[in-house]
């Protein structure tokens, strides 16, 4: 049996024991899943502190909900879904103006030509892109995180975000349009 198959089996066993209320198994799941969960959450959270708070609250909610959760549901997307709900709860409590937004719902003309890498180095472009993602509205940051950090399909994103698949496509399209515009604007 390959290492990955063994890992999958161990993971399934941990998952089963954790669902039955075994705290040690749950703590092992925390160790295994927190790094990836943090990467995804950090991409849509406003800052490091908020990302850490969301991850911690996600695990607390998961601990309370795990015994009642559906047995055959994969753990990782379920955790991401909880994290998104936690983030939405946090953002709901904050004032809307806490979120910088680099644009409204207006569409930007897509330039399918050469990218900004011709005008700046890749490192600079990536740094600018990170800043651009941070300035996107929360729901756009979420689709970017789920698509590019978690590697989810549209179907998985729709399920995790509890949105119709076409809305997810629209959000991603608009997020990318805004990022293109942001990257192609020299004076920002």
């Amino acid at each position: 049996m390959s290492v990955s198959r063994e890992q999958e089996r161990d993971e399934a066993e941990l998952d089963r024991r954790a669902r039955a209320g075994d705290p040690e198994a749950f703590d092992r799941l925390v160790e295994n899943h927190t790094p990836r969960l943090y990467r995804i959450v950090r991409r849509f959270a406003s800052d490091r502190g908020e990302a850490e708070a969301i991850v911690q609250e996600t695990w607390l909610r998961a601990w309370r909900a795990l015994p009642r959760s559906v047995d055959d549901r994969p753990l990782a997307p379920w955790l991401v879904r909880i994290a998104i709900n936690v983030a939405r709860d946090i953002w709901r409590k904050k004032r809307p103006l806490d979120f910088a937004d680099i644009g409204g719902d207006e569409e930007f003309l897509e330039d399918e030509g050469p990218g900004p890498e011709e005008r700046m180095s890749q490192k600079e472009a990536l740094e600018k892109l990170v800043r651009g993602v941070e300035r996107l509205r929360p729901e756009y940051r979420m689709v970017i995180a789920l698509r590019y950090e978690a590697g989810f399909s549209y179907q998985e994103m729709a399920s995790v975000l509890d949105l119709p698949i076409n809305t997810v496509r629209t959000h991603l399209h608009r997020a990318k349009s805004e990022l293109r515009h942001w990257l192609e604007t020299d004076d920002v």
């Binding site: 089963r16 024991r17 669902r19 039955a20 209320g21 075994d22 705290p23 749950f26 703590d27 925390v30 160790e31 927190t34 790094p35 943090y38 990467r39 950090r42 991409r43 490091r48 990302a51 850490e52 991850v55 911690q56 695990w59 607390l60 601990w63 015994p67 399918e112 050469p114 990218g115 890498e117 890749q122 472009a125 990536l126 892109l129 990170v130 993602v133 970017i144 698509r147 590019y148 950090e149 990318k176 990022l179 293109r180 990257l183």
Partner: protein
């Protein structure tokens, strides 16, 4: 179709992972578990105390409840059967009269304290059974 922006988004750097985050989560979970254990213990203690109160309310009235019950010895039953064979109508009337006397005796014993005690004991017993069943099922799963 993937374009230059997709490529950049896939390469986007993220803040370094805080190495102690999982430990902090585990510490918070341990705290939550300790608190919920403590709450459960307090709840159990309260239930034991409440059950004692329930028994204290019921026991003094139980004697009246038992003394008002009809005589259910084998001899009395045989006597009643032979009376039933001799004169069925009269025996049935006597039987109904005995039951009615017993019920009225019970009704006088069923004061508010007795009902309250009975309710408390029933609720405690139900909680205990539910708790036992859910703990047993979880334990079985962990041990399997």
């Amino acid at each position: 179709m993937s374009d230059w922006l997709d490529d950049l988004l896939e390469m986007m750097p993220v803040d370094p992972y805080p190495e102690d985050l999982a430990e902090r989560v585990q510490a918070r979970l341990a705290l939550v578990r300790r608190r919920s254990r403590r709450t459960r213990h307090v709840l159990h203690l309260v239930l034991v105390l409440v059950s004692i109160v329930g028994l204290w309310l019921i026991l003094p009235r139980a004697e009246m409840f038992l003394t008002s019950a009809p005589n259910l010895s084998l001899g009395a039953f045989e006597e009643w059967l032979s009376a039933l064979a001799r004169s069925p109508g009269e025996s049935l009337l006597n039987f109904i009269g005995t039951i009615a006397t017993w019920i009225s005796g019970l009704a006088s014993a069923l004061d508010i304290e007795f009902v309250l005690g009975l309710g408390i004991l029933t609720a405690s017993a139900l909680y205990g059974v539910i708790n036992l069943l859910s703990n047993g099922a979880a334990q079985e799963e962990v041990m399997a």
